[in-house]
């Protein structure tokens, strides 16, 4: 079958999709977007977290056919997504989420170079690097998408809020302390800007 949907603000078509394929498989193997990771394929680890019409989902549990006509944001589009959200006034109120209309109103910019040099990062991406929250990095894309969405809803989270929001994302390297640091740092920096 053919599946048409929007990924990181760009219309995409995937052909010859077998009905059993997941959104994760189509992103990784058919659209050349391997940033979303496959670590358990049963919705336990959160490594494949993307936003589907603004809502964080495990893309391994979404059948590709279900995304027909819908809007997906992956880690590859996160920097641009966050930038354009900020330019539209961000979400200082604390409980806005992203409406479908807003989600469809933006488009990703050009790709990063091979080395990643000069890449413009979202606040939460930069904070993960600065706080040492990246080790092997396999859990990082899913955590970034989840953390960014939480900060959009709740710009001033308590530690318990952060832990609750990220409890669906497994990390095996860090012991989560630097991930907590990174999210606190991103929240603090976001607060300074506003």
């Amino acid at each position: 079958m053919r599946v048409s949907f929007t990924v990181n603000g760009r219309p995409q078509e995937a052909d010859d999709v077998w009905e059993g394929e997941s959104l994760l498989y189509v992103l990784r193997e058919r659209l050349g977007l391997p940033g979303s990771k496959n670590a358990c394929e049963q919705g336990e680890c959160g490594s494949c977290t993307v936003r589907l019409d603004g809502v964080p989902v495990c893309s391994c549990l979404v059948a590709a056919g279900q995304v027909e006509g819908r809007e997906v944001v992956t880690v590859e589009g996160l920097a641009d997504f966050a930038k354009q959200r900020a330019e539209r006034g961000g979400c200082a109120s604390g409980a806005c989420g992203t409406s479908l209309q807003d989600a469809q109103g933006w488009a990703a910019q050009g790709q990063d170079s091979q080395t990643g040099e000069g890449a413009e990062l979202s606040p939460v991406q930069q904070a993960f690097i600065d706080a040492g929250a990246v080790q092997c990095g396999f859990c990082t894309p899913g955590l970034l998408v989840a953390a960014d969405e939480m900060l959009e809803r709740n710009p001033n989270p308590s530690d318990a809020d952060i832990r609750e929001a990220l409890s669906g994302n497994l990390c095996r390297c860090t012991g989560y302390e630097t991930i907590m640091d990174a999210v606190r740092l991103a929240a603090a920096r976001q607060g300074e800007v506003v």
Binding site: K37, C45, G132, Q135, F138, R172
Partner: protein
């Protein structure tokens, strides 16, 4: 023993100053950080090639059986299937592999010895086609009785797991189903036992833990025009893989090129081969690139686990709290294949006393062959199981003597100069008592934190969490302490060297250093540290780290807490050799202009040649002009020797690493639910080359220790030897809600034998974390708890 003229055990000292920005001691950021946060970093599972096929492995559904027949006809007939291979299709007579003992079949031959053993492999144009084709292969098994423990393994009529063993351990083991045995005998344990006023014994059980790295086993094999193959793979040691892969393919090592692709964690689980040979076989058979990616289910069968263990301990102590003697016996279950079992036995026995002074010991450690899943390397490697037991013993002994548990440990703590049970002196700082003092002195987390936000209980702070099982009723706090000792580097006479190629040249008007090693970056941050070392030693701002591959000499394994020490030492050594060559060029070109070129000690700092007095002699750009200086050299730490097979005596270890923990837990005693509130750690790291990475290692290791204390265990059915929980739904690892705050104190007491005085750090925090949590749960519940992990039924007795 060392095979060439490279320096052996050269003590290295800091000769270069710290004036170059981004050098050692700073928390510089990861060079791969941006790629990892943008999703651009290429992990082994992200590899793609035009015309690529997908490989799939068919694994045994039973643990122990003869293979009567294999019928692949339906599978090969499926559209989209390019190849199906079994044992009979292997190209050479080399059909086994293994880290130390080559006892592991590439594909099963006549027999399977554990649940999930590879039997056949398939290549197809879609991963689902490959899976379905594998499912069409008919294997007829004639089941055999399963061997699952010491009694069944060593019974007089026990089936031999491996018939006709000819490895170098078979001569000294009491039964062919024992892989290796290491006794350690020192002093006179029977005489010493007479001095004991208190004798404490315990039987301890340690469950089977999985590394559970998040990036599953995966790789891409690309056939090359010369008949060879290029393998892109996630591993811990490229050259060890190469040595095992090439003979099975019937290729010289020069025709098997390996490049490290992104590694999603390792923790010991990538020391053994997984899909490497299978992908290469299918690529060479089909002439097409073949990618294999395990899913999580397969990953639980695709790598070795931490050895489960039974440990019998007897200690004595005098009235005034001095340890008199230790008798212990450690039985490790190695499963169906040897993997790293012999070395794990060496560690378990030689570190079984823990960081304490006990002169009279009688120790025995063995690893079994059984039909359980193969076990091998995991972070802590034999020292973890022992630490769980000896720390439980220390609490019991302190209670028997009537002393404070921390003071009892401090009274018996080893220090620099203590003789190990192997006879080896501890010849660098061993601040065991100080680490305990530090964790004890840290402020305690406040009581009843669940009420901190207001009058309503925040269930997220309570045992049971969002399941909302208590608002504080029945919740009891407990506190526990533990400390451990881990060896650093490969021990027992292994030639544990690393190679580094360092190049220095002027690029775009700037001096640039390039570091090329085969070190597997698995997330630990070795690449960060290599750049820091090059900046410190060569005084340049710009350092390029080349991707790891087999075009440069071996860097040894990313395990045993060894990479910063050994490959870091190799980078430092090669930088020093480059620096000498650069200074030679400088003397040749500019020596006649300034006497200091001949008389002063010269340094490279800030892109310049300076005297130790700080006088600038030349810019590196002018010294080098268009010349490039390159050195590739091996570097070795001081040699070790094997443990005597009867007495266990010998200079077996390179270095020791120490960490202590204090655990604070809250237990819902009615439901048996545990919440770990805080896990404080103090560790001596010798020298923190990158403090941010050091703390990350300590917190990560601590959390893996927490996991095996309260949740992580692979459950193997004792009747069938089949794995019952191969998924993240049933094998639980700590989430961010299960993991407490982990305050860390870092000591830096230099080991003069090591580069910059550093100490390998990755494993020590995994040791003491588990027994500290267990001690805290015992403190809260008053239960004996002699096994880990602790499950709710152990606390409620239901």
């Amino acid at each position: 023993m060392p095979s060439n003229g490279a320096p052996i055990g050269t003590p290295t000292k800091v000769t270069q100053g710290s004036k170059t920005k981004g050098g050692i001691g700073e928390s510089t950021l990861r060079p791969d950080g941006t790629l990892k946060v943008t999703g651009e970093f290429a992990y082994s599972s992200d590899m793609w090639h035009e015309d690529m096929l997908w490989g799939q492995i068919l694994r045994s559904t039973v643990a122990h059986a003869e293979i009567v027949s294999i019928d692949t006809s339906e599978a090969i007939a499926m559209p989209g299937v390019y190849a199906v291979m079994t044992y009979d299709d292997l190209p050479t007579d080399v059909r086994n592999y293994g880290l130390e003992i080559q006892d592991t079949p590439v594909l099963a031959h006549g027999k399977v010895r554990h649940h999930g053993e590879p039997v056949a492999i398939v290549a197809a144009d879609h991963p689902e086609t490959a899976r379905r084709a594998a499912a069409k292969i008919k294997v007829d098994y004639r089941e055999l009785p399963v061997i699952t423990d010491e009694a069944s393994a060593t019974a007089p009529d026990a089936i031999l797991i491996h018939e006709g063993r000819d490895d170098h351990h078979v001569g000294h083991v009491p039964h062919p189903n024992i892989v290796h045995r290491q006794p350690i005998v020192r002093g006179n344990v029977e005489e010493a036992a007479k001095k004991a006023d208190f004798v404490v014994t315990g039987e301890y059980t340690f469950g089977m833990q999985d590394q559970a790295f998040l990036g599953p086993e995966s790789g891409l094999a690309v056939p090359e025009e010369d008949g060879g193959v290029h393998l892109y793979v996630a591993t811990q040691w490229l050259h060890s893989d190469l040595r095992q892969i090439a003979p099975v393919l019937g290729l010289p090592e020069s025709k098997v090129r390996m490049t490290l692709s992104g590694v999603g964690g390792a923790f010991g689980g990538r020391e053994d081969l997984s899909m490497q040979i299978h992908a290469c076989l299918l690529a060479l058979r089909t002439g097409k690139p073949v990618k294999i990616v395990y899913n999580r289910f397969e990953s639980f069968f695709g790598h070795v686990h931490r050895h489960p263990a039974k440990l019998h301990y007897e200690h004595g102590a005098t009235k005034d709290g001095r340890l008199t003697h230790l008798k212990c016996r450690i039985v490790l279950d190695g499963g169906a294949y040897a993997s790293a079992s012999p070395a794990v036995v060496g560690n378990a026995s030689s570190l079984s006393v823990g960081p304490y002074v006990v002169d009279d010991v009688d120790i025995e450690a063995i690893a079994l062959y059984t039909n359980n899943p193969p076990c091998g390397a995991m972070r802590g490697f034999g020292a973890v199981q022992a630490c769980f037991a000896y720390e439980a013993q220390m609490d019991k002994l302190a209670d028997a003597v009537g002393m404070d548990r921390v003071e009892f440990r401090q009274l018996n703590a080893m220090e620099q100069g203590t003789i190990m049970p192997t006879g080896q002196p501890v010849d660098s700082p061993a601040p065991v008592a100080e680490l305990l003092r530090r964790v004890k002195a840290m402020p305690m987390p406040p009581e009843q934190q669940w009420l901190s936000a207001g009058e309503e209980a925040d269930v997220r702070q309570l045992p049971g969490g969002l399941s909302n099982t208590t608002h504080g009723e029945g919740v009891v706090r407990g506190v526990g302490y533990a400390v451990g000792i881990k060896n650093v580097g490969f021990s027992e006479g292994f030639d544990d060297y690393s190679t580094a190629r360092v190049r220095m040249e002027v690029i775009a008007g700037e001096p640039v250093a390039t570091v090329h090693t085969a070190m597997a970056e698995v997330g630990q941050g070795g690449v960060t540290v290599h750049a820091q070392i090059a900046r410190t030693e060569l005084g340049v701002a710009q350092v390029t780290i080349r991707p790891a591959d087999t075009q440069v000499g071996s860097a040894g394994s990313t395990s045993a807490s060894r990479q910063t020490y050994v490959t870091g030492g190799a980078v430092k050594n090669s930088c020093e050799l480059v620096r000498e060559k650069v200074l030679e060029i400088g003397r040749r070109r500019f020596g006649s202009y300034h006497p200091a070129w001949a008389t002063a000690e010269l340094l490279l700092e800030g892109g310049k040649v300076v005297t130790d007095g700080g006088e600038v002699l030349a810019d590196l750009v002018d010294v080098l002009e268009d010349e490039a200086v390159e050195v590739e050299a091996e570097w070795r730490h001081r040699p070790t020797e094997a443990f005597d097979l009867r007495t266990g005596q010998g200079f077996g270890h390179v270095q020791y690493s120490f960490a202590a923990h204090r655990a604070v837990v809250e237990v819902d005693t009615e439901l048996g639910l545990v919440k770990v509130i805080e896990l404080a750690c103090a560790q001596d790291v010798g020298k923190a080359l990158n403090p941010l990475s050091v703390i990350g290692q300590i917190q990560g290791g601590t959390t893996q220790g927490l996991g095996v204390a309260v949740m992580e265990e692979i459950i193997v059915d004792p009747k069938t030897a089949k794995v019952k929980n191969p998924s993240f739904t049933d094998y639980l690892i700590p989430t961010i809600l299960d993991t407490p705050t982990i305050p860390v104190e870092v000591l830096e007491l230099a080991d003069d034998h090591a580069p910059y005085g550093l100490r390998g750090i990755g494993e020590a925090p995994t040791l003491s974390s588990t027994p500290a949590v267990l001690a805290a749960i015992r403190d809260a519940t008053g239960l004996e708890l002699n096994r880990t992990p602790v499950r709710p039924e152990h606390l409620t007795g239901t």
